[in-house]
Amino acid sequence: MPVKIELSPDRETVTVYFTGEIDHHSAKKMREDIDSCAQHNEPRVLILDFGGVEFMDSSGIGIVLGRYRLMQELGGELRLQNMPSHIRKVMRVAGIDNLKMTDSKGDKPK
């Protein structure tokens, strides 16, 4: 099970817990699972949690940037949390290591 996805009781927040290895091979299924949940629930906040990730290459950057675009479309916000130092190092290449990406436009469309 590459990702565990939790929806908050108020359905406002989706939290994605990645585990194991994120590479080109595993990323496709992860993207599909996350997008399916986010598109179905249209949360205000999507949180990507990297605490359980043992390995990640630039495929992880693709996941973050793609989900950022998705949350922009949904009028919501993307947050990253619990990045181990080796993940932060890869994210730094894309300049997104310290990111709490927010959409300044505010409320999600009705």
Binding site: E21, F55, D57, I61, H86, V93
Partner: protein, 144 residues
């Protein structure tokens, strides 16, 4: 300089082998007892190069990926990742951060940038229609 140790491996360009490739190189590098950070750097850079071979080198075909690695007495690890796929017409452009030929929008175009960040040297040789060889080099801190 005389090579201290070397290995070679080849495998079909299937994405399931990305993990296999980086694990093999990490096991080879582990013979000289590198730091955990060095091992992660090597695994990540190799994963990028192998993914490029699979995704871009062999876009429409299932080819073979060849990896050779050498360890030198001064602690240098040199890894060559080779494919005989379509090649890169413009290497300079391909190495530009955020440049990607992927049309799904899910590849960040940062594979070479990550390799350059994590390794001491990254060299790319490519001939359109014949294939690409990426050479990665990192000097490991040898514990004596």
């Amino acid at each position: 300089m005389k090579i201290q140790n070397r290995m070679r491996v080849s495998f079909p360009a299937r994405s399931v082998n990305e993990s296999f490739a980086r694990t093999v190189i990490a096991a080879f590098a582990a013979t000289v007892d590198p730091t955990v950070d060095e091992l992660i750097d090597i695994k990540t850079a190799v994963s990028e190069a192998v993914t490029n071979a699979i995704v871009h080198g062999y876009r429409e075909e299932l080819g073979q990926v060849y990896i050779g690695a050498s360890l030198y007495p001064d602690g240098r690890l040199v890894v060559r990742i080779r494919d005989t796929g379509c090649g890169i017409p413009d290497i300079k452009k391909a190495m530009e951060p955020l440049y990607t030929t992927c049309e799904t929008g899910e590849r960040a175009g940062l594979g070479f940038a990550v390799m350059q960040e994590l390794m001491d040297k990254v060299q790319v040789r490519s001939t359109p229609g014949k294939g690409t060889t990426v050479t990665l080099e990192k000097r490991l801190k040898i514990k004596q």
